[in-house]
Symmetry: C2
Subunit: 328 residues, 2 copies
């Protein structure tokens, strides 16, 4: 914040840009006419927002997305950028077994940024937050040479215990909800200058995290959970390390469309399935006697051993398993 | 997030930079050995953190600070930058009448940024958060051409009603806790290439928000409150607009040090007092029969009239009253 909404500044030749409309003018445009969910006790416009936390706890996560690193406007529309920024954060809440309640946006961008770009990003944020049950309750706008979206999401555990990364036990079943590899295939397509097949390009532009599968897994007794933002093997590696278990997965079956794209580009689609990030699937471990909820499919098991992830009993040697923005 | 902490990458000539240490290595350094307050139910290292919200509500605010816009490393040490970034956000929680509980950091910066710079920013964040009673519970790190700090703070109302900007009523007393004008005087000194007097330069580098005065005002029955981030008149203008009252203030007495600095620089120090931001004082309205809590001093009153702020009964014409990052 600040998030108050005094009248817009009236610009001239810059009137269609942030420089012309000003910080408060943009905030007025981003918040006008929005409908907040019941969990928003006080929305934008004051020093801070107030969000319901019915069980006396709040789940919170923050994520930063940078133009040119996490998104490109020649690949995605501003609305798609907003949806992806929200989705990648909301998935972190689901991965704790919680239900998203609220989202806040910290926006920094050049003063020459068109207002239409920023309001469309706002539209995307609102659309995705609403789909996940959350409101957009506040934010901040400032000038910067680079367009950076800083998203914070809140959630409610609804009285349940959180599902962390550290609870997997030997004998647990490893299961997946949602898809992996699609965003990576879309990236490979876009990076080669193509714009189709639309189904993989769309997956790169806007992920479809299975939000409801997170709380469902918690109800079913999941012992550990994480969202697949960096790749299935990399993110299972976090569970293996935090839980002190060895995890052995079978490669999921290759969907026909990914097989086609892989053949066209000369890439083994199994590599995308195992190492592709940005789809924000959920992967979790369940006790062997737990029934898997709808939408979850078993892909392997946890066992005693050194904390690592194997594919069909062997270390995976198909390439770099994950994504660290700085490590080379 | 992610906020897990695998072993550091080992670089070579870049080992002292973010490029050498990597995202996870930096997070490990920022979180190692920190002591969380009791309100941190689950700290960094998972998909999300969990923070206590004992009365079933959470106060939340987010703020973005950009190098070159909000701070400069030739004016401030990284530790001071971290303290200021935290303080400016924590003050928003106090301004609702709430107690800060948690802080999250979204950090984007060039890969060439020295790790020492980033860990010192982290030290400053921790120091200020701890002073206000909050933990640093999570964050995210990514690459960007510009160093941007995105801070989110959470707080607890401890069962009280929030003190918003919209509750001031005709007849209310306007009162101030903390100081105004000192950071602006410090800015004027630094902008002219000087480094003293230290007391005003220090105020520009690290504000000292009166955190406890916010909840104390709420307990005493404050009807409206805001933190002075953009200037006393500008921020009182938000209360006037949101509450539909006219506010008339007397200029606070000029401290001797500000008078000295003003004389040396040829600036009327009253202008700093009325329009200087970044000190993060709290200004609030109280019913006329409420006793002002310790640390609060009456500076004016609210009355029926058009929503505006007067100084001793007249519109203030001493210069631009506030700071909008984009409006010109």
């Amino acid at each position: 914040m600040p998030t108050s909404s005094p009248p817009d500044g009236e610009g001239s030749e810059t009137s269609g840009t942030l420089a012309g409309v000003g910080e408060f003018g943009l905030i007025a445009r981003l918040t006008a006419g929005r409908v907040q969910p019941a969990s928003t006790l006080l929305g934008p416009g004051d020093d801070a927002a107030i969000v319901a936390a019915p069980d006396g706890r709040v789940v919170v996560s923050t994520d930063v997305l940078v133009e040119g690193v996490h998104f490109r406007f020649d690949w995605s529309t501003p609305e798609q950028v907003g949806r992806k920024a929200a989705a990648s954060n909301l998935a972190d809440i689901a991965a704790m077994g919680a239900v998203p309640t609220a989202l806040l946006l910290g926006l920094s961008c050049p003063e020459s940024t068109p207002i239409a770009t920023l309001t469309e990003i706002g539209d995307g944020l609102w659309a995705e937050a609403t789909a996940a049950g959350a409101g957009v309750v506040g934010g901040d706008v400032t000038s910067s040479a680079t367009l950076v979206l800083s998203i914070t999401v809140l959630g409610s555990l609804e009285g349940r215990e959180p599902v962390t990364r550290s609870g997997a036990r030997p004998g647990d079943i490893v299961a997946l909800a949602g898809r992996t590899g699609w965003a990576a295939a879309g990236w490979a397509v876009l990076a080669r200058g193509f714009r189709s097949p639309k189904v993989v390009v769309g997956a790169q532009r806007v992920p479809e995290p299975p939000y409801a599968a997170g709380p469902a897994a918690a109800v079913a007794g999941a012992t550990a959970m994480i969202d697949v933002s960096d790749g299935l093997l990399a993110d299972l590696g976090h569970i293996a390390a935090a839980s002190g278990v060895e995890i052995d997965v079978r490669p999921p079956p290759v969907p026909a469309r990914l097989a086609d794209v892989g053949a066209a580009l000369g890439v083994d689609p199994v590599h995308w399935l195992l190492t592709g990030g940005e789809d924000h699937a959920l992967v979790a471990t369940f006790p062997p006697d737990a029934g898997l909820p709808a939408g979850w499919a078993a892909i392997g098991e946890a066992r005693e051993g050194s904390p690592r992830v194997l594919v069909s009993g062997k270390p995976y040697d198909g390439g770099a398993a994950g994504w660290d923005h700085f490590a080379r």
